[in-house]
Amino acid sequence: MIETLQNLNFAPFILSFKLAAITTLILFVISLPLAWYLSQTSSRAKPFIEAITAMPIVLPPSVIGFYILYSLSLNSPIGAFFDEYLGVTLVFNFTGLVIASCFYSLPFMVQPIQSGFESLNKNMLEASYISGKSKLQTIFRVALPNIKPSLLTAIIVTFAHTVGEFGVVLMVGGSIPDETKVASVAIYEMVEIMDYESAHIYSAIMIIMSFLVLLSVYIFNQKINKKFASFT
């Protein structure tokens, strides 16, 4: 047991967290304008965009993985373009994982931010416009500071969800050590070769970390909600 712990390879964990951190950062930047648009629009296109955004929640990861693999591979126009003109291969490497994770985790970032924006008092935003402030100034100085709990939830859930993904990364990335072999894939392989001891240790680490992350989010949100309780 102790020997196993000493020989434990942490590379899959580091890879998982690196992937999750980059994905979260990219999605945060993409989702802010998207969530703002969805929260403010009454356009007929809104339900379509919302449905497309939410698709990764209901689709089997293998479906997403399959189509991402299909459209990014060298046989597809997109994959061929990137390979030919930019010299970048998009599948079976870390870049491919990031792209796939961004699709897979998109709803987990967009939805909490959107509902945060929707919960804002509309008159408060209008008061900002009347005060002479542009939409951008209103978003950064009024809207975002008032939805901190939603932002935190979105960031943490997206991060955690990306750490926890399996099907999509396996299909798009395979299992190349230090490149695409993330923790969930590593555990799967340990079980396959019946190395249950390592699988237990890896899984226990995942469980403890996930619990601690979620616990801290809920504690933070409880504090914030208490702070805002006096506001009516």
């Binding site: 008092n121 008159n123 408060m124 209008e126 008061a127 900002s128 416009y129 009347i130 005060s131 002479g132 402030k133 542009s134 100085r141 009024v142 500071p145 008032n146 702070k227 805002f228 006096s230 506001f231």
Partner: protein
């Protein structure tokens, strides 16, 4: 001088309706906009603020805010807007709410002192009472020295004492800055105290326009005289109800019937009429 001539189709509770109004406002006037709910009062304010679209013309002095081709965005209209539910920036302190509009510390200090809020300037607005919140909202609306101040039932969420205090503060601010104001209100005493002109809307059309007395006191021909009084309290003496009212600084007792006794609220304005008696 503000010229307003606008038209907009609205979907109200009673089906489709056209807001169609045409009137001018003189500088420094305080116009009370009244009428039953759904008459289009709030929509009219929102159109003036540029928050809703409409057809027609809005001209303020020589500046066009709205015509058939153009609509000046709310950011550029230089208006103050006081919402019924305050709509303060909840992530900021009292002073920050004011400075967000216009980073003029001297002016914000002056406004906060005038409304007795200066001691609270560093407190988060979420910690304030309703009356304090609405005072902050009022100060915030004044921060960009607006050409037009719009108030949408600003005092309707407050208790009677707080209302009286805030009415006084609105008067003080108006005296100091002379801002042209449009105030939506249902409260007759408020309209009396604050405005010098009343416009009554009904289904999107102006049905009355004049001084508060002309519009609110519809006197019929056989009254010898009529005067307006403010109601203070009610006492029951045996089977009758006696209302104490104040008129011209004097207290007067008036007999009222049971139904009136139940409906009267402290601060209500009434008109007392003396009719001809035929013996």
């Amino acid at each position: 001088m503000i010229e307003i001539d606008i038209c907009k189709k609205l979907l109200g509770a009673k089906g489709e309706m056209h807001l169609d109004v045409d009137f001018n406002i003189k500088e420094k006037d305080v116009v009370a906009l009244t009428g039953e709910s759904g008459a289009g009062k709030t929509t009219l304010l929102r159109i003036l603020a540029g928050l809703e679209k409409a057809n027609g013309i809005i001209k303020v002095d020589d500046e066009i805010w709205l015509d058939n081709k153009f609509s000046l965005p709310p950011q550029k209209r230089r208006i103050g807007f006081v919402f019924q539910e305050y709509a303060l920036f909840t992530n900021m302190s009292v002073e920050e709410n004011l400075l967000f509009v216009n980073n003029d510390k001297e002016f914000s200090k002056k406004l906060l002192k005038m409304t007795n809020l200066y001691e609270l300037k560093n407190i988060s607005v979420t910690k304030l009472s309703g009356g304090q919140k609405q005072r902050v909202s009022l100060c915030r609306a004044m921060m960009n020295r607006p050409k037009l101040l719009l108030m949408d039932e600003p005092l309707s969420a407050l208790d009677p004492n707080m209302r009286t205090n805030l009415q006084q503060e609105i008067l003080t601010l108006h005296k100091e800055f002379g801002t042209t104001t449009i105030l939506v209100s249902h409260d007759i005493s408020e309209i009396y105290k604050l405005s010098n002109r009343v416009i009554k809307l009904h289904f999107g059309k102006i049905v009355a326009d004049g001084t508060p007395k002309d519009v609110l006191l519809q006197m019929s021909g056989n009254e010898k005289f009529s005067f307006s009084v403010e109601f203070l309290e009610i006492n029951r003496v045996d089977m009758t109800y006696i209302a104490v009212v104040v008129v011209g600084g004097q207290l007067v007792e008036v007999v009222v019937n049971e139904r009136e006794a139940k409906e009267l609220k402290v601060g209500d304005m009434m008109s007392i009429k003396v009719k001809k008696n035929h013996y």
